[in-house]
């Protein structure tokens, strides 16, 4: 057993950042994730970490660009409106292939919205978010334990692929307290050499340049092809998901993050009622678990995708299922968390609509 503590999700995330060898954190206060910056200013500086409260999220993400370019493990965190402000910087970071960790403690939108939990930023997180063809590696925790664990995983993935990684949480995960165990982790064993970093040019090598500017179209296309090749490799190797009661499932719920825990409860209630329900929880939202969902589509009669948004991940589920069986969507918005009973109700109606005799796949 490692060290077990009772912490808020935001605090666990911050503590994990220190333990993962994050050299610098740049951030700007925004509810519901300000505890990250507060925790780090109180506990990280004495442990050798640079913690800077930037003048804006725009400045913070560009500090991340500079710090990552200088070869250090760096992270920032924010919530939805702040993450929107960071999108230009994230596009530059992805284009310049700089490893870093960005955390979005998702709150309800659009606009200034609400400070309550939401999954409304799924599209933004998984489809790129800023301009141009790029992807973040997106990890979706469902517990305070995973808020901590995915910091280590996020940094490792970012360094392995020279790509920004994102933890997509929500306001409830950031604020709620659970026990968390910190793993033994030696940052130096997980951090690859970074010969491309701008650290001052010795006479023995050519100068290093961090840039995303390539004026010649042929060169720009080459860069794009290189990035796309990298993304295909990540899709091949890094898909993560969890299955619950899928072996004999007739109907499958797909949900991520906090909603997956609610959906699991609904599946248990359904099973107690004699309904053979199952759950697939995507852990990486990009790369998305396309193949396992496609395989399950051969066996189940229908899918129900439950999200805290108007139906975003459901599009990726439908693309994975390729029309083989119906895919229904249930979402709550505005910061409202669906209850297990609500999910159960929609699970029942999904099953009723998808009885073998009445199934018509359009």
């Amino acid at each position: 057993m490692g060290e077990v503590r009772l912490m808020k999700g935001n605090e666990a995330l911050a503590e994990a950042g220190i333990r993962a060898g994050c050299k610098a954190y740049f951030g700007y206060p925004i509810t519901p994730q300000s505890e990250v910056l507060e925790y780090l200013t109180a506990h990280a500086r004495e442990r050798g970490m640079i913690v800077l409260q930037a003048e804006s999220e725009v400045a913070a993400i560009n500090m991340i660009y500079g710090g990552a370019g200088a070869g250090a493990r760096v992270m920032t965190s924010s919530s939805s409106p702040g993450i929107s402000l960071m999108q230009e910087g994230l596009s530059y970071i992805a284009a310049a292939e700089l490893p870093c960790l960005v955390v979005n403690v998702n709150r309800g939108g659009p606009g200034l919205g609400t400070i309550q939990p939401s999954q409304g930023d799924y599209f933004q997180a998984t489809k790129g978010g800023g301009h141009g063809d790029y992807h973040l590696i997106v990890l979706a925790p469902c517990s305070v334990q995973e808020m901590a664990d995915f910091v280590f995983d996020g940094f490792d993935l970012a360094d392995r692929y020279r790509n920004p990684a994102m933890i997509l949480a929500d306001g409830a995960l950031g604020q709620m307290m659970e026990k968390v165990e910190f793993r033994a982790y030696e940052p130096s064993e997980h951090t690859p050499p970074k010969p491309w970093a701008t650290t001052g040019k010795p006479r023995t090598r050519e100068r290093n340049v961090i840039t995303s500017l390539h004026i010649e179209p042929e060169r720009m296309e080459e860069i794009n092809l290189h990035l796309q090749k990298k993304y295909r490799t990540i899709e091949e190797r890094e898909v993560r998901y969890e299955e619950f009661s899928t072996e004999d499932a007739e109907v499958l719920v797909v949900a991520y993050g906090l909603v997956a825990r609610i959906a699991q409860k609904a599946v248990e209630l359904a099973r107690a009622d004699g309904v053979r329900a199952g759950l697939l929880r995507p852990i990486t939202l990009w790369p998305f678990p396309v193949r396992p969902l496609r395989a399950l589509a051969e066996r189940v009669r229908g899918f129900l995708v439950v999200e805290m948004n108007a139906g975003q991940m459901v599009e990726d589920v439908r693309l994975s299922v390729e029309g083989k069986v119906p895919v229904a969507s249930y979402g709550r918005m505005g910061g409202i968390i669906p209850s297990p009973d609500e999910v159960l109700e929609h699970l029942r109606s999904t099953i009723e609509k998808n009885q073998p005799t009445s199934v018509e796949v359009s």
Binding site: G66, R207, L213
Partner: protein
């Protein structure tokens, strides 16, 4: 091919033997022809900075940050480690580099649109935090790269492609004297305004840059060197006309000289 190599083909061996090398491209500049328009101050400013880097022997311990604007390609010429920042964000990028590598020299090279319009917040706050780095600010009162639009520093009455009848206070407000603004902040240690329009001006700029790197080494805070420069293409003038216009029109509003010097130097 170096100048001496060119002359080898032109001169007799005896004549060539008598030549003395008095000036050459420093190792801190790459062997790449500048893309800047004829007469543009950027080429001179690049060269002066890199000559100072060579003279101080800090090529191995310096990191530069290039902006968006005409000097976006600065890293093609400066033979040092460099990062190319998003528009206006050079000082945020430089802040992180310097914090992570405090024993390295760090500088940004930015134009007026980059530093004094879209990047105003980053400029002010970097100076206000007193980040221990150098900001080189090239002010030619126009957006060069995008084709000659009005800048925050454009003079009143000055014609640009987005102020075709001349800048007016009613529609565009006043030219922004951002060097004077940052001089008010306790975080800046040295704020000076220089130019590159004459050999003497270049010598003065060189001294200002040497001082700035010395202050950075001593950890004195932010140094801010404005270079009042020209844009012959954007101003629609010959290089000579542009430099004459600069003296007559830019200097009254942006006079050369130190705006703020460290306490003990006063």
């Amino acid at each position: 091919m170096t100048g001496l190599e060119v002359l080898e083909n032109v001169l007799t061996p005896e004549e060539h033997e008598r030549l003395e090398c008095v000036y050459e491209r420093p190792d801190t500049l790459t062997d790449t022809r500048f893309h800047y328009c004829p007469g543009c101050g950027h080429s001179v400013a690049h060269r002066v900075i890199m000559e100072v880097v060579e003279e101080l022997g800090i090529q191995e311990s310096i990191i530069g940050v290039a902006p968006v604007g005409c000097s976006v390609f600065a890293y093609q010429y400066m033979n040092i480690d460099m990062q190319e920042a998003a528009h206006g964000r050079a000082t945020a990028v430089a802040t992180a580099v310097k914090r992570i590598l405090p024993d390295r020299y760090v500088f940004t090279y930015q134009g007026d649109g980059d530093l004094a319009a879209i990047g105003t917040a980053e400029t002010i706050h970097t100076c206000n935090r007193g980040e221990n780095l150098l900001i080189v600010f090239v002010n030619n009162a126009i957006y060069g790269m995008t084709g000659g639009q009005m800048a925050p520093t454009t003079l009143l009455g000055m014609k640009t492609s987005t102020s075709p009848a001349g800048r007016t206070v009613e529609t565009a407000g006043f030219p922004l004297k951002i060097a004077d603004m940052v001089a008010l902040l306790p975080g800046t240690c040295y704020v000076t305004r220089q130019s590159v329009h004459t050999p003497n001006a270049v010598r003065q700029l060189r001294k200002a840059l040497v001082k700035s790197f010395q202050y950075q080494q001593e950890g004195k805070g932010t140094c801010f060197v404005e270079i009042v420069s020209n844009c012959p293409s954007g101003w629609k003038m010959t290089p000579l006309e542009a430099n004459e216009w600069l003296v007559k029109n830019m200097f009254p509003l942006y006079p050369p000289g130190d705006i703020k010097v460290p306490e003990e130097k006063r």
